[in-house]
């Protein structure tokens, strides 16, 4: 008799979602996390006295709608803002606004407007095809399994239904880079770079890197499955974690926070439970890890506990990421040149034209600090005054490309880069500096430490073509079941991957239930 049917490592969104579905199927489930709060990368933190921000992910745009309804997250306290438009800030204040399928701006001509809506339509067509793969386990290609064959049939049918020319277009685009696709569709540099930014967020890639069309499609597919637009979570992202946790508890899941897992334990050839840092042993029929594959396999299970080919694949799994966060506490709402107050609560992005994005990427490759960065900015306190003292505000920005370990070391680089980043944003918001009362830079190395994501990789491993779909995280451990008996994956390191999708968690639970390991 084991202590639990399933122990889920990690109370991030995927861990909690997986646990909830397992508990709904009447299994006894424990979720365990070293952090004191649930949510993982969906977390809210006070970074300066009385100023709080979503300290990792800041927008909700991809959470699958069936999960939201299955887990009754609204009842569990999840409140979202209205959908946000995206405004790409320009040095000359000729900002470009993206809202659904429309793009507006003084520099955008009608040809680009038409091209944008047809581009969006085409991407949605492709997302719909990809969604057939995202909604379940990724099919294996060589093994003769009916579930996989049916998925492949659906995929084939989806491709067929695209029609010949769209299908050819997908085949042509899927593996190339966003830089070429942007130049093919559009003329306006601001329009191109704004879309390219979505293709490189959370990665270590530039617009010219291969795979960037795929990573863009990954984002669009999430948005297609979520069907809610880009929104802000009231109370910060941590409120999503809290809502997921209370939904899980309502389903019967036991959640232990502030308990670090020391090791995944095996009895004989199969995984039989976990050991906590304090030495406590907890047994279970299966262990489901939502930690990233490197943490799961290298740190928790240990390479000596698996076959060598698997250890090699785990070791070669890539986790590089160039995304940092900048948090600024403001004593008043800043002014952005050319934006009214209503626009300030939208998603604001700053990015140079695509060639400049590539140039900004280059220093990161060599562990140096770039002169120029890409920003994805939110001022969440406009919609949600609970985040800051009355009349005050917080600004939260995703920043690309920041190296994991700069040559000069973070001790020296931290303040330098923080000041530089504030200067870079101040070019668009002249009073920002004078209003700032506190600031914080969260580097990829910090993310690794605070959120336990190897390499600071938000996606739990790069979304490169060799690490996605039926290859995620690596052959032999796909379909949520790893090559080690009794050990499963349900995090972003499993198909369909990173972002606040929730699908790895849900799909894993479905596979576990179907696979019969808990019977």
């Amino acid at each position: 008799m084991t202590d639990y049917d399933a122990i889920v490592i990690g109370a991030g969104h995927n861990g909690l979602i997986c646990a909830s579905y397992l508990a709904k199927a009447k299994h006894k489930v424990l979720v365990i996390d070293s952090r004191p709060v649930p949510g993982g990368c969906a977390s809210t933190r006070e970074f300066a006295e009385n100023y709080r921000v979503s300290d990792c992910a800041q927008w909700l745009s991809q959470l699958d709608k069936t999960i939201v309804s299955d887990l009754q997250l609204s009842d569990a306290g999840l409140v979202l803002s209205s959908p946000k438009s995206t405004i790409s800030l320009q040095p000359d204040a000729a900002h470009v606004t993206f809202d659904g399928d429309t793009v507006t701006g003084t520099s955008i001509d009608t040809e680009d407007v038409t091209a944008y809506s047809s581009f969006r339509l085409q991407m949605r067509r492709f997302a719909k095809v990809l969604a057939t793969l995202y909604n379940g386990r990724p099919p294996k290609l060589v093994e003769k399994n009916w579930t996989d064959r049916i998925t492949l049939l659906k995929l084939g049918l989806g491709l067929k239904l695209l029609g010949k020319s769209h299908m050819q277009d997908l085949m042509r685009l899927a593996l190339i880079n966003i830089y070429d696709v942007m130049n093919e569709y559009f003329k306006n540099p601001a329009l191109k770079s704004a879309i390219a930014l979505d293709a490189v967020t959370g990665s270590n890639m530039g617009p010219r890197s291969p795979n960037t069309v795929f990573s863009y499609l990954h984002k669009v597919t999430g948005e297609f499955l979520s069907d809610s637009g880009t929104r802000q979570v009231m109370g910060g992202m941590g409120a999503l974690g809290t809502a997921l946790a209370s939904s899980a508890e309502a389903a019967g899941v036991e959640i232990k926070l502030g308990c670090a897992v020391k090791a995944i334990k095996k009895t004989g050839h199969a995984v039989s439970g976990i050991e906590l840092v304090d030495g406590t042993l907890l047994s279970s029929k299966i262990v489901v890890s939502s930690a990233d594959p490197t943490t799961t396999f290298k740190s928790m299970l240990g390479y000596a506990q698996m076959e060598a080919g698997m250890a090699k694949r785990a070791e070669l799994y890539r986790n590089r990421c160039g995304t940092a966060k900048l948090h600024i506490a403001l004593k008043a709402l800043p002014t952005f040149t050319g934006l009214n107050q209503a626009q300030l609560s939208q998603r604001l992005i700053i990015t140079p034209p695509m060639d400049g994005m590539e140039t900004a990427l280059n220093p990161m490759k060599y562990n140096e600090i770039s002169d120029q960065h890409l920003f994805d900015i939110s001022i969440p306190s406009i919609d949600d005054p609970s985040l800051s003292p009355e009349g005050h505000h917080v600004l939260s920005a995703l920043v690309h490309y920041v190296p994991f370990s700069p040559k000069m070391g973070w001790d020296e680089a931290r303040q330098l880069l923080t000041d530089q980043l504030i200067d870079e944003i101040s070019a668009y918001a002249p009073d920002l500096k004078s209003l700032a009362v506190a600031s914080e830079l969260v580097t990829p190395a910090d993310f690794e430490k605070t959120h336990h994501v190897t390499g600071g990789s938000w996606h739990h491993g790069e979304l490169s073509i060799d690490q996605v779909l039926m290859m995620r995280p690596f052959p032999g451990s796909t379909q949520y079941k790893t090559a080690v008996e009794g050990l499963y994956l349900c995090g972003a390191g499993a198909h369909p991957g990173g972002g606040l999708l929730g699908l790895p968690g849900r799909n894993a639970a479905k596979e576990i239930i179907k696979g019969g390991a808990l019977v």
């Binding site: 095996k266 390479y303 000596a304 060598a308 250890a311 090699k312």
Partner: protein, 394 residues
């Protein structure tokens, strides 16, 4: 032997000056990148030296890896399919190792020097695979292939000759045992191992001792009819003795590019080397499935009618091809026309009668022969002296 197109300039072994002088036929081959004699003077006479007196084979090209460190045993236990903990100090174990798919990469021998010190002798270069296997283990792997010169000294008078060389009480050494001596001030290790299936030893020395070792062996062994033997004679002996050869009887999984050309241990008749009592070894999960679902092939020894070696023959049953021959030879001591074949299941149980389709050429004239053959228990050559301790005197 690898094909000429893949060759680079060949190396020579530490015995080369002596081997070259003894190689009357000047018939050379490439064995793992080294110049090695196919035959010295007469294949059959060389073979009969092994079976009747003593034959000496230069096995210096074998790949040798020193494996040491606190996790050495655990490392090897994850690497190979058998239980390394059961190999005692100063003992040698035959082992195979697989990839995660349970397909055989190579076979070789593990020499245990102490709790934490081993040497792995492999047919294939294994640096890359051994290095990846170190992940998670506190272990050091050193390729010592060129730091050690080795001779196989095989045959009924081999113990006597080595005793004359100074290996005291060698006759007390059990099969798969190791003994340590000194030779001209340098270490000399003898293991009672070999690839001929006869009473025999392998002698391991630093390269500096190589020429002196050869000279003294042949001087002391003169009256015991010591002879050098080359790759062709070894081939006869090993087929007779039931030993498999990587790249001949099976393809090392790492070298295979076509689907279905690799083999698991059960398909090579090596299931006895797979120890499922071990909770973890490379290929375990896949092999557990194989055990459940059965294998596709069986490795068999065939006694073929007639005297035409069934080299590369198709094996038929009821007019249908059910397998192919991997090695074949007329074996002089066994006095049998033997062949190893991979046949499709369920064929190939002992006693099964099959047909070998043999082609042979005489003066440009090809003849086709359907030779009846029978699956027999391997090996066919098993002299008592191979296993006797003390080794029988001469």
């Amino acid at each position: 032997m690898s094909s000429p197109t893949r060759d680079t300039m060949l190396l020579t072994t530490p015995f080369h000056s002596r081997v070259e002088a003894a190689c009357a036929l000047n018939d050379w081959g490439n064995w793992m990148g080294y110049t090695t004699p196919n035959a010295y003077f007469d294949i059959e006479l060389e073979y009969f030296a092994v079976r009747s007196t003593t034959g000496v084979f230069d096995l210096s090209p074998m790949n040798k890896y020193q494996i040491s460190g606190p996790d050495a045993e655990a490392y090897l236990n994850r690497l190979v399919t058998r239980d390394v903990a059961k190999i005692g100090i100063n003992r040698v174990g035959y082992a195979i190792w697989c990839n995660d798919a349970g397909q055989v990469l190579d076979d070789g021998t593990i020499f245990r020097f102490s709790d934490n010190e081993f040497r792995l002798c492999s047919y294939q270069r294994a640096d890359d695979w051994l290095a990846w296997n170190t992940l998670g283990f506190d272990v050091t792997i050193d390729n010592v292939s060129s730091d050690i010169a080795a001779l196989a000294v095989q045959g009924p008078t081999s113990c006597t000759i080595l005793t004359l060389l100074g290996c005291e009480n060698l006759n007390q050494l059990k099969p798969f045992g190791m003994a340590h001596y000194e030779f001209e001030g340098r270490p000399l290790m003898v293991s009672r191992t070999g690839f001929t299936g006869d009473l025999g030893y392998e002698v391991w020395v630093p390269p500096e001792s190589a020429e002196a070792l050869w000279d003294q062996l042949f001087e002391l062994g003169h009256d015991y009819l010591i002879k050098p033997f080359g790759s062709h004679a070894l081939e006869l002996a090993r087929i007779e003795a039931g030993f498999l050869q990587a790249n001949t009887d099976f393809m090392p999984a790492e070298e295979v590019v076509r689907v279905g050309r690799t083999r698991n241990p059960f398909e090579l008749g090596l299931g006895w080397l797979v120890d499922f009592n071990k909770p973890l070894f490379n290929g375990r999960a896949a092999l557990a499935k194989v055990q459940e679902n059965g294998s596709k092939y069986r490795f068999v020894l065939l006694d073929v009618d007639g005297n035409k070696p069934a080299e590369h023959s198709f094996i038929m049953k009821n007019g249908k091809v059910v397998g192919t021959v991997t090695s074949a030879a007329w074996c002089p001591t066994a006095k049998a026309n033997l062949a190893y074949a991979q046949v499709e299941m369920p064929h190939g149980t002992v006693g099964d009668k099959l047909i070998a389709e043999i082609y042979y050429q005489r003066e440009l004239h090809w003849t086709q022969l359907y030779a009846p053959c029978k699956v027999i228990e391997a090996p066919i050559f098993k002299p008592a002296r191979r296993w006797q301790t003390p080794a029988p005197p001469h």
